[in-house]
Amino acid sequence: MAGGVRIAGLVVALAVSVLLAIGLGAATVAPADTARYLWAAVTGGEIAAGEVTSYQIVWQIRAPRVVLAAVVGGGLAAVGVAVQALVRNALADPFILGVSSGASVGAVGVSVLGVWGALGIYAVSAGAFLGALAASVLVHLAARSRAGTTPLRLVLTGVAMAFGFQALLSVLIYLVPDAEATSAVLYWTMGSFGAATWGVLPVVALTVLIGLVVLRRLSRPLDVLSLGDETAASLGVDAAGLRGRLFVLTSLVTGAMVAVSGAIGFVGLVVPHVVRIVTGAGHRRVLVVAPLVGGVLMVWVDLVSRTLVAPRELPLGAITALVGVPVFIVLLRRRAYLFGGR
């Protein structure tokens, strides 16, 4: 089966990418040594005294960062698929419903106002997460009407709200013109895995994993939803109810990701399309292949970001776009790809 081989290939590619990316950087560690250190860390094995520095770089600094990149890349790709189905719009991405700008406001608000000192290093992430959720709730309430929430109204409300949050952000930065706030904004709007630690990883990894499992189980209803709400009703799918559940799910998962990595654009928009071009539209396949592709892509993007002009880091969003745009355009031109008509 072509599908099974493809998936197995992607799993191997992801494992190899993670291993290589953990070894590469300012201090390069051979893949075999990387594997040995990881094994030692997981099993509690021993490391020679001379290797402690390399071990610490691999285990404490790089491993959580690379794993986070894989998790967030996979999560963004899967949520992108779900949001495109939810709002029935090819231009949708995980951030179209205002989540990322809400998160930025939350994060910057927390760092500027200095509230929640007790939460320490997690305060900003918590602020971002709450900002993301608040934005989702606002968008949902504003888009709701007696006739139910139509996909188009949801998108338009999300886009309008995003502008509102951007404005709020500008006002915040203007009123509190310190360097910290400005860099926090940059961090949250362009994205970075610089803050990855083993401490932040479990929450976001678990959220993404649960999100993936739930979405995959909804493959068939998602397929049905793309036939339109009327036909969906005739096939026993309550489109409005499904939309509500998807909205909650995608908001939570996106919020959790944005809280640790900022809003990394483009992956959630383009990976779903690229995957559909290759695998076809069925969500059963797309929702397995897209997260794997997103994970692999993000691991390499993060590697480029931290090595190309080291010790400085390039914004992830810039690299995803620079790499993704040409690939996307070539694929679009090579295959007849239709989304929503000719």
Binding site: A85, R88, A90, R216, R217, S219, R220, P221, D223, V224, S226, L227, G228, D229, E230, T231, A233, S234, L235, G236, V237, D238, R276, G280, A281, G282, R284, A336, Y337, L338, F339, G340, G341, R342
Partner: protein
Amino acid sequence: MRLAFDEVTAVLDGREIVRRLSLEVPSGQVVGLVGPNGSGKSTAVRCVYRALRPTTGTIWLGRTDLASMSRKDSARSVAALTQHNGLDLDFTVEEVVALGRAPHHTGNQRLGARERALCHTAMERLDVAHLATRGVLSLSGGERQRVLIARALAQEPQVLVLDEPTNHLDIRHQAGLLVLLRDLGLTVLVVLHDLNLAAATCDRLGVLSEGRLVASGTPHEVLTEALVREVFGTTVTIVHHRGVPQLLHSLPERGSLR
């Protein structure tokens, strides 16, 4: 399985679009719903496939009140072709037809051998089997319409509700479809604008005008020159062809609008 509207009223935007409609589709019969544009035909059938909930009144499926059934349960017995169809992902024809099996599954199980055969038969009946691996978004209007009807058949319904199924179809496929509907043995409620086709294939007709049922009965009883003039506001001559009433248009003289 019989389908019956019992005093069904549907209100949209504060307006009564369907008013106290009572109409029965006896088990295994084909009933045509006809009427002018905006008379409430689509609104009435939307209530049957659960896209709309009647404001008052009951729709009976056999001896069960439709409103008491879960959507999924009713979708196992009632399949529909909707008037407007927005497809936005480029599924293949066979994938779309296979989605007709959705109400029979929970979760992601693959289709069994019997179900795949069922889908194939449905595609053959609608003459789209040769398109099986084509993307639906690149099909012609009529091809796409036939794919969607095949999907409804793959649902293995006992009741079939079709809203203008002959849209986009050429005359061979129009006739073929209606013959198929007649011979499937399913309970069929079909909205049609072509009164000649309706007369030739439906066991009974219901005529809607401004949301009310103004006539019902066999095509012979219903289709009269007076009714067509009154309900549709146009003059026709009715002739009988092999015992079936058929309409001939009597258009005004050329230049009469000037």
